[in-house]
């Protein structure tokens, strides 16, 4: 008898909850719950500490800055600031805050909240990773580097409760773009101070129950590696126009599992699509597979401190012998565009006039000029972090270099952290890299290649390039800035310390019931503009 009971218990345990297999997305037009695949588990929800895309997606729901991104990626829309004035020299911004902007605990959002938040973000001992977002503000960089101790000398001040004035050291036509970034959003001072000091890293204020935000949603629950839920905030200034009731962020860092979740009706949106499925889904789910342009460039880095890559001709030859068209058509197959500049071209703004050609004959000539007639260039190593996608591309380029220039290239893959450490100490010859702009402006790419910048990592330095970037920063006219940047792009594409290969696309699956989801360069989809409608089946 004992064994029968045992068997029964086990059976009940295993099958107790076995019922209908519900597809949550099918019911969400009633519940208005958006189910979202969100990549890796967020590290934290402190906008001054985190750096990842998954965190940024959640913070977009929880916190609102002075301005918000337009769902189609056009110019910023009023957020907490109802309107703003920009002085004629482009250096003074005055923001007028909404009367009805309130925190989720009922407190008013004031200009002082922004002053406090920016002070916190720039406080050296906090160790924020994005302080440069505010470096255009007078004194911000000095304060962050510890050269200026008195924050009142930094160019941000609350004129009154509702008016915030920001003074810039140089005109920055992209400044409103920067203010869309989560790191410039306000945080609730009493909450920060309740759980620690201004510079406490990882205090408990970001936990559900503690988190006070001012965004369209508030933090409801957060189970590590499982699910993070935000609920519509009744205190949000525009709550009447927010349709979604909840957003469920699933940390799914495995593309295959995310794909299965989407296909079994557990997700409305995925963060990616397994590369091998892209072709299949183009035919099978054309209405769900989304391929949006993305503000990012996939490129290879040369270690210009090392022979033979210290020779510009060698770098040019290697670039000329890559058939980028073939790479995007035959290898990537995800709608990527051939890169001809470092900054991804943007038809609405900066469109570089550079070119990157495929000309193996010219490449051979250049190698001869550089002193390496055919087959004499010493073999070298191409480094990438372990990933099937990077490997495929590296193999294709390895073959192109072999075929066109008779060069032997060894492919080396390492785990992500090993790769990063090799980049950091310059222990590589040629290495794969990628960059996604934090805001839509060429500065978010070109600034990286200025002498000595942390992400330059090629050892390359060019005085003229640096001066053009500086001129661009000080120019009040957008057209003039873009002409300096275009010139800088020409230097970069001639010198080629980096080898742009293609412009990224964002490839993901989207359920057809989701409305208001526009494609834009930064993959930003403010949730207050989204809703779920029952599609006709």
């Amino acid at each position: 008898m004992k064994y029968k009971h045992f068997a029964l218990v086990v059976l009940v345990l295993l099958l107790n909850a076995c019922g209908d297999n519900i597809r949550p997305v099918d019911l969400s037009y009633e519940s208005q719950i958006l189910y979202l695949g969100n990549g890796t588990e967020p590290q934290d929800l402190d906008p001054h500490v985190v750096t990842g895309v998954p965190e940024s997606k959640i913070l977009m729901a929880l916190l609102e800055g002075l301005v918000i991104r337009h769902p189609s990626g056009l110019s910023p829309l009023p957020g907490i600031a109802q309107r703003w004035n920009i002085s004629e020299d482009g250096k003074t911004y005055t923001f007028f805050l909404r009367d009805n902007a309130i925190w989720s605990n009922g407190d008013q959002v004031t200009a002082n909240d922004f002053v406090y938040s920016w002070r916190r973000m720039l406080t050296p001992s906090l160790g924020s990773k994005y302080p440069d977002m505010l470096y255009d503000v007078i004194g911000a960089e000095d304060f962050n580097k510890g050269l200026l101790k008195d924050f009142s000398k930094v160019g941000v001040r609350a004129v009154d409760e509702r008016t915030l004035q920001v003074s810039l050291r140089n005109p920055a036509p992209y400044f409103l773009e920067l203010l869309c970034h989560y790191t410039t959003r306000p945080i609730h001072r009493p909450t920060i101070e309740k759980f620690g000091e201004i510079d406490s890293l990882g205090s408990q204020w970001t936990r559900p129950g503690n988190f006070i935000g001012n965004g369209p949603f508030e933090l409801s629950s957060w189970e590590l590696n499982k699910l993070l839920v935000v609920k519509k905030s009744p205190t949000y200034w525009d709550a009447a126009n927010v349709t979604l009731n909840e957003i469920h962020f699933f940390p799914v860092d495995n593309a295959t599992r995310e794909d299965l979740m989407f296909r079994s009706g557990k997700l409305h949106v995925t963060s990616t699509v397994p590369q091998e499925k892209i072709e299949v889904y183009k035919g099978k789910y054309p209405e769900n597979l989304k391929i949006d342009p993305y503000y990012g460039t996939y490129y290879y880095r040369f270690n210009t401190k090392k022979e033979p890559f210290n020779n510009k001709l060698v770098r040019q030859a290697l670039s000329l012998s890559i058939d980028r068209e073939k790479i995007v058509q035959k290898v990537q197959k995800g709608g990527q565009a051939v890169a001809f500049s470092f900054t991804p071209p943007n038809r609405n703004a900066f469109y570089p006039s550079t070119k990157l050609e495929y000309d193996p004959e010219r490449a051979k000539e250049l190698l001869i000029q550089a002193g390496y007639p055919e087959g004499t260039l010493p073999p070298f190593e191409l480094l990438y972090n372990t990933s099937e996608g990077h490997q495929k591309l590296a193999q294709a380029i390895q073959q192109m270099w072999k075929k066109n220039l008779n060069i032997d290239v060894t492919l080396t893959n390492t785990d992500w952290k090993v790769y990063l450490s090799k980049m950091g100490i310059g222990d590589f010859s040629v290495a794969r890299a990628g960059w996604i702009g934090d805001y839509v402006d060429p500065k978010s790419f070109l600034d990286m290649m200025v002498t000595g910048r942390g992400n330059n990592q090629t050892g390359w330095s060019n005085i003229k390039y640096d001066s053009l970037l500086l001129k661009g920063a000080n120019s009040p006219s957008q057209d003039e800035r873009f002409s300096f940047f275009d010139e800088a792009e020409h230097i970069l594409m001639d010198e080629l310390p980096i080898l742009p290969i293609y412009t990224y696309t964002r490839i993901y699956m989207l359920h057809s019931d989701v409305e208001g989801w526009d494609s834009n360069l930064l993959d930003n989809h403010p949730y207050q503009f989204l809703s779920i409608r029952q599609s006709v089946k």
Binding site: C18, S421, G424
Partner: protein, 304 residues
């Protein structure tokens, strides 16, 4: 019995010390650090972070500081999740991993013992060969193949079971349990069959049958007790193996258990989390091995 326990506990100390020492120096010698990121971290920020997490001290000092903390039950803060301690992370994942391991072992025992008993009673017939062949397959097929296959069949084609989660959707615990438990069920089946065959030939079984007891009573009340001894001895290491090996299944099904934290920690160079989980898993393995020895000793007095 007491002697056995104290002897085992004493040998556990050097084992744990070796685990801590080896793991500590291995993770610290791996290239890359916990704060390396795509967006290069400002050197000044890095100095502050290293200071905060005691990574600026000489390695031997870090090692002794860490040991000192561990002895006091402090596994330190996680490097990846600011504001969360390693202990918090372990106890977030542990109940789930434990539940998964428990269901899997129940599944394994129930299925394995049933098959083993039937096979032993129908020795050298199709009812013996067929399940034993399947059991051999069960042992051979790794969970990394079995899991996705089950997902494909039951989740995608038949659409009867959820493909991910743990306690989120009805029935989402079934596929992970089967995936993790199958290999162990197969072992249980083979062990039960072996154990039963040995017991069924013994005199007391013949006596029981001669007394006119029904075959069911003979099997359940007389033969199983002895026949299951190898299975019980196997349960301790199996439970330890299930707990430590659950990370593959947790990854396939997106289960937020300890195994996933462990693997992630390794990729993220979350030193304290790697160390904390290694120590914790070592303790579990030691504990379950001890437990199975104790149970075996209780069942079989010859082992005492």
């Amino acid at each position: 019995m007491l002697e056995l326990i104290s002897k085992r506990l004493l040998t556990a100390i050097p084992v744990l010390l070796a685990v801590v020492t080896l793991t500590f120096f291995m993770v610290h010698s791996a290239p890359g650090g916990p704060f390396d990121a795509e967006k290069a971290v400002d050197p000044e920020v890095l100095i502050k972070l290293n200071e905060k997490y005691n990574l600026d001290a000489p390695l031997y000092k870090q090692y002794f500081d860490y040991l000192y903390g561990v002895v006091q039950g402090d596994f330190g803060p996680s490097f990846r999740y600011p504001g969360r301690s390693v202990t918090e992370l372990i106890f977030t994942g542990l109940p789930i991993t434990f539940e998964l391991a428990l269901y899997s072992i129940l599944f394994a025992v129930l299925l394995g013992v049933s098959i083993g008993v039937v096979s032993s009673l129908k020795k050298n017939t199709i009812y013996d060969y067929a399940p034993m062949t399947v059991a051999m397959l069960g042992i051979c097929v790794p969970s990394i193949i079995l899991g996705p296959s089950l997902i494909l069949i039951f989740g995608i084609w038949l659409e009867v079971l959820p493909v991910s989660g743990w306690g989120d959707y009805s029935g989402d615990k079934i596929l992970p349990t089967i995936t993790l438990g199958t290999a162990y069920a197969a072992y249980c089946a083979r062990l039960t069959r072996g154990g039963m065959l040995e017991v069924l030939n013994q005199d007391f079984i013949r006596t029981a049958r001669a007394k006119g007891l029904s075959e069911t009573r003979v099997v359940i009340f007389h033969a199983l007790k002895g026949g299951l001894t190898p299975v019980i001895a196997f349960l301790g290491p199996a439970m330890a193996g299930l707990l430590a090996g659950s990370f593959v299944v947790e990854t396939i099904f997106g289960i937020p258990g300890l195994g996933r934290f462990y693997v992630e920690a390794a990729f993220n160079r979350d030193y304290t989390m790697i160390l904390g989980s290694s120590i914790f898993f070592s303790c579990l393995i030691i504990f379950f091995n001890l437990l199975s020895d104790l149970i075996a000793a209780i069942i079989n007095p010859k082992l005492r």
